[in-house]
């Protein structure tokens, strides 16, 4: 079996094993909310099916929070269905009969969460959003009222929706973000704003912050699957091969020459090996960029001990393990852009880019 094949197989097998391991937890969550054993069984099954179907789209290491949210949603949607059914019945038999409060608890929780999240928006954000979503006012007439353009209003609405989603999740989870970086990160994820995600270093924060890792799952699941980005979790030697092959495949789409593809793959190999050797685990993200030019950007980040002297680590001949000092300076020579950010005790992020076409 080739290295590439073994990597592929492992990924095929993993979700099923991981999902199976979630069953006891899902059972506890659902049985705590549903009395009837047969119904609970059905809901566990339904949750498993949904989680399994989504497993490939879920961020590495985020399957469990995803499953928790899914289980809650499956229970909630069953209750909503029952509730709707019952209310329709009421219309026929007894319009005045109030809904039993315990059955409505979840729907009420959700309404309360939305109301609370709305209250956290600015007055102007809230007014515009409600005018658009509830009253159906279009962006052009909103723009006329605000002395703005339809495009600007649409962009503002998108930002407001992104904020509302974040606040809703925070209310629902009943948590205050533990750090001041949390909200900007969640907001960037919620808005699907990749430039902003880079600015706030969202990937690193999600590695470090449990709360955001948990909350961001529905935000990321909501995002469109991207075909110009590959994320490879790194922990073993085989992942080094997987990362460099993924980088080569993605970069090949831009029409890089074979020689350049090999330079990119070699550089990825070097920086990924640093993760395995020094940090143990991390991730490599390969993405196609088109600003300022078309190219391929590789981000290798870990939560390892950090590099004490980055300048020195970038110097040829600096030897850190088994006589090999070529990792970083070598990779830098192979790429067009190269940056290392390292913080002791927190980890290292290497960002490197190869532009497509003439230098």
């Amino acid at each position: 079996m080739s290295a590439a094949e073994s990597v592929g197989m492992r990924e095929d097998r993993r979700p099923h094993d991981d999902v199976a391991a979630l069953i006891p937890m899902l059972r506890r969550i659902i049985e705590a909310r549903v009395d009837d054993a047969a119904t609970a069984d059905d809901l566990v099954q339904e949750t498993l099916v949904r989680v399994l179907a989504a497993a490939a789209r879920v961020e590495p290491g985020m399957l469990e929070p995803y499953a928790i949210v899914t289980a809650r949603n499956v229970v909630a949607s069953m209750w909503r269905d029952q509730d709707r059914h019952r209310r329709n019945q009421h219309r026929v038999v007894d319009l005045d009969l109030p809904d039993p409060p315990d059955q409505d608890l979840l729907a009420n929780e959700e309404r309360t969460a939305v109301a609370e999240a709305l209250s956290r928006l600015t007055d102007r954000e809230r007014a515009t959003l409600l005018a658009h979503e509830v009253s159906g006012q279009d962006t052009r007439s909103l723009a006329a009222e605000q002395g703005s353009t339809a495009g600007a209003v649409a962009a503002q609405l998108n930002r407001t929706r992104a904020r509302l989603r974040v606040e809703y999740l925070l209310v629902q989870a009943n948590v205050e973000p533990p750090t001041e970086r949390c909200r900007p990160v969640l907001l960037a994820l919620s808005g699907g704003d990749r430039r902003r995600q880079r600015e706030v270093d969202a990937g690193r924060h999600l590695l470090e912050c449990d709360v955001c890792a948990r909350l961001s799952q529905p935000l990321m699941e909501r995002a469109q699957p991207r075909d110009d980005e590959v994320r490879i979790p790194i922990s073993t030697d085989a992942d080094i091969v997987a990362a460099r092959q993924a980088a080569r495949e993605l970069a090949a789409r831009l029409g890089f020459a074979r020689t350049e593809l090999t330079l990119i793959a070699t550089a990825v190999s070097e920086v990924t090996r640093n993760i395995v050797r020094f940090a143990g685990t991390g991730e490599v993200v390969v993405e196609l960029v088109d600003r300022p030019r078309r190219g391929v950007q590789v981000t290798a980040r870990d939560t390892g001990p950090g590099i004490p002297d980055v300048e020195r680590a970038l110097t040829d001949g600096y030897s850190t393990y088994s006589g090999l000092g070529l990792g970083l300076p070598g990779a830098r020579r192979l790429m067009d852009e190269f940056a290392v950010v390292s913080e002791m005790g927190r980890g290292t992020t290497v960002t490197m880019t190869k532009w497509c076409g003439e230098r």
């Binding site: 079996m1 290295a3 460099r244 074979r258 070598g330 020579r333």
Partner: protein
Amino acid sequence: MTGPKLVSILRQGSWLIASIHTALDDTQMVLFQQDLIEQIGRYRSRGVVIDVAALDVLDSFGARTLRTMAEMARLRGAETVIVGIQPDVAFAMVSLGMDTGSVPTALDLEEGLAYLARPGGRGPGHRGSAAG
């Protein structure tokens, strides 16, 4: 390991022809190294051809491992030639600041065998007769 082999080592007289069939990770590279050195000892081989044409990259670890293999082979009395380094791989190695050191390279298997069989080289049939 199941499935198609990652590497194969064939014996031909006092030569070993080692071929890498796919991209190897570091662990697989080290296993290959151990396997080859063990076989050099077992068969008292005098010459080794390592065909790396199928390697996708030769990064610092890969290049260094090849050099170590050649050095260990030399200590066991065998001469090593590396064949099949693709032009793009060779370019990346040079850009990286790596080379195969004093280990000779040849274009392909045929050239590599011709190198071992050169006058004064490690002929396949006459152990110990070649100059070291």
